[in-house]
């Protein structure tokens, strides 16, 4: 559904995106992770036809994102990083306006308000919405044309835990419905929960790309937290022979009260690859 080959975007001497290559299959939730300035938003802007690549090729839904962007536009949509609603318009007016732009029936706006749970707030001005409500309205807006590919740039940034959970629920629901989702996020747990595959972007380059489980196994540290009979808690690295021997000794001496093994996290993977945490 998305095919990217050696995609580059340079701003003068700065290589914002420096030759990235990846594919996203239909119905997949693909995560692009990285620091601020790593090139995530620039990549989305190129894939959605809002920035012209310096070099390389990007195909979206079977069309070239640059030369065929007018054919790509009806097939995609995006949820931006920051709220960008028409504040003086009611929620329903925001959706109906975009319905007319895409040439879809106005009733689609009502359906989407139901989907995101904003039916009761339909006639309230968007500026009176909470952050979570605005995010849900933007998701509703992004679905107005029933896109085949949905780009979501930090969809839960700045939301309280409840709103973030609701948004993640919506993303999972869309993915189950067959929408291909291209997601950028700072939150590793979110990527772990939602994405079928993730790519780590650092200084414009992809430094790793695989399923979250494979990446954690490959780059993360397997550890175990051990509670001993003297009530002290110890953490041992399972891949470290000395720590493993220590654990075996505690076991033989019947010192272990509880033992919890843990796989590495995506954040560990990111630190291992990028050298610093997000």
């Amino acid at each position: 559904m998305v095919e990217v080959a050696d995609l580059q975007k340079h701003y003068g001497a700065v290589r914002a995106v420096d030759g990235i290559t990846f594919n996203v299959a239909e119905g997949e939730v693909f995560g692009l992770l990285g620091h601020n300035g790593a090139g995530k938003t620039t990549t989305i802007r190129m894939l959605t036809g809002r920035a012209r690549p310096t070099a390389g090729r990007a195909m979206v839904a079977g069309f070239d994102a640059v030369t065929d962007r007018d054919r790509v536009k009806p097939l995609i949509n995006a949820v931006p990083e920051d709220p960008n609603l028409y504040d003086r318009f009611a929620g329903i007016e925001n959706l109906r306006f975009f319905a007319t732009l895409y040439g879809v029936k106005a009733s689609r706006a009502d359906e989407l308000l139901d989907l995101v749970g904003l039916r009761d707030a339909a006639k309230r001005k968007a500026k009176a919405y909470s952050s979570g409500m605005k995010q849900r309205l933007m998701i509703a807006r992004s679905l107005i044309n029933a896109p085949r590919v949905l780009f979501m740039d930090e969809p839960t940034r700045g939301l309280d835990p409840t709103s973030a959970r609701e948004v993640r629920g919506l993303v999972a629901q869309l993915a189950r419905g067959g929408t291909t989702i291209f997601l950028t996020t700072h939150y590793m747990e979110e990527a772990d929960e939602l994405c079928t595959r993730v790519a780590f972007l650092s200084q414009g380059k992809i430094v790793a790309l695989d399923t979250p489980r494979e990446l954690k196994l490959r780059y993360g540290q397997r550890t175990a937290t051990v509670l001993l009979r003297d009530r002290t808690e110890q953490t041992v690295r399972l891949d470290d022979p000395q720590d493993a021997a220590k654990l075996a000794e505690w076991m033989r001496a019947d010192q272990v009260l509880t033992l919890h093994s843990q796989e590495g996290t995506l954040e560990d993977v990111f630190v291992a690859l990028a050298g610093r945490p997000l």
């Binding site: 809002r50 012209r52 536009k73 009806p74 960008n84 028409y86 003086r88 318009f89 732009l101 807006r141």
Partner: protein, 361 residues
């Protein structure tokens, strides 16, 4: 260019702008000025004549009355069925004067049958009665095919004043209303239009628009908003001040060309500024060279200053619109005025196209 998309954005902008107090202020200020002009220039108020008549409404005499009223007489004409009704209206002072025409009056005059036309007026007469009487007489001569025995040419001289330039000839009220119309076009183009465009970028709604539209469609929509506001505002201003351009094509051509050129400049400004507040702040400064020239265009001035001001589109627009309003050539060489405004429009839209092509790349 997809017209339905541009038109949808245009409709959204019109609704949105009506909810934005900053834009409303820029639209309403000149209209308030028009009301002020109506009250501070009483000497040019229209003379009102309420007239009732009995007879055919298609009569050439009725048409003559309306034509002669023109812009100097605010004629309120009312047709009634009987002489008695006409007399009652005069007696009750509901009208200033009434007249009764035979049903075949035009034919009778042409055939020389000397029909009788009755003028019903209050005992003390009045200006309305004199106006109707004189108009009927002129109309009857015209119907009878009698040419006027002489042409009376009216020349107005303002006693005791020095050369007041075109403003003196046009009259202060009409002159200031025209200058205010130009000011209004400037405020719409350099304030309202850039705010509408800049706000889209500032609030990042432009990103959402560009997922479905392209830059050209967005820009065309904003230009349409400016043109629509300009057309409505000018019509409102003329209605409020009861002015009717004598040479309508010239007036419309001048107003339209000036509005298009200024809107091009406004769209460029909208691309330069980052926030609507910046537009609001800096537009006040930029409005000075736009607003000031039309207010002095009709005044006597040193040749050097006149030469400098001729480079300003609003100065030239004022010249065209003055001729259109007056229906005569108070300013000569209007082609230069059209050329200067057109040159500004070409430069503004050329730069705009260049910026758009850069953005799209």
């Amino acid at each position: 260019m997809r017209i339905p998309i541009a038109f949808s954005i245009f409709r959204k902008d019109v609704v949105d702008a009506m909810r934005d107090s900053r834009i409303l202020v820029s639209l309403l200020t000149p209209l308030l000025l028009a009301i002020v002009y109506n009250s501070i220039f009483p000497e040019e108020r229209l003379f009102e004549a309420k007239v009732a008549y009995v007879g055919p409404e298609t009569s050439a005499l009725v048409r003559t009355l309306e034509e002669r009223a023109g812009q100097t007489v605010d004629l309120k004409l009312q047709r009634v069925d009987t002489d008695t009704a006409a007399r009652a209206l005069v007696a009750n002072q509901d009208v200033d004067v009434a007249f009764v025409l035979p049903s075949d009056v035009d034919e009778a005059v042409r055939q020389g049958r000397r029909p009788t036309i009755t003028l019903i007026q209050p005992t003390e007469g009045g200006a309305a009665a004199q106006f109707v009487s004189a108009s009927l007489e002129a109309g009857l001569r015209g119907l009878a095919g009698q040419p006027p025995v002489a042409t009376v040419q009216v020349e107005r001289v303002r006693a005791g004043s020095a050369d007041q330039g075109v403003m003196g000839e046009l009259g202060a009220r009409r002159y200031f209303v025209l200058a205010t119309i130009v000011m209004m076009l400037g405020m719409i183009a350099v304030l309202a239009v850039p705010i509408i465009l800049t706000e889209e970028a500032e609030k990042k709604t432009l990103d959402a628009l560009l997922l479905v539209a392209n830059y050209r469609e967005v820009i065309v929509a904003k230009a349409l908003v400016g043109i629509a506001y300009s057309a409505i505002s000018v019509a409102l201003m003329l209605a409020l001040t009861r002015l009717q351009p004598v040479d309508m094509p010239t007036f419309v051509a001048g107003t339209g060309l000036l509005a298009v050129a200024l809107i091009g400049a406004g769209l460029l400004l909208g691309g330069v500024f980052k926030t609507a507040n910046q537009v609001y702040t800096w537009s006040s400064v930029l409005l000075i060279p736009i607003i000031a020239p039309p207010f002095v265009a009709g005044l006597p001035m040193p040749p050097a200053l006149d030469l400098v001001l001729r480079a300003f589109p609003t100065f030239q627009g004022m010249r065209i619109m003055t001729n259109g309003l007056a229906g005569k050539g108070l300013f000569a060489d209007l082609w230069i005025s059209y050329a200067v405004i057109a040159a500004w429009a070409v430069v503004a839209y050329g730069l705009l196209a260049w910026r758009l092509s850069r953005r799209e790349s």
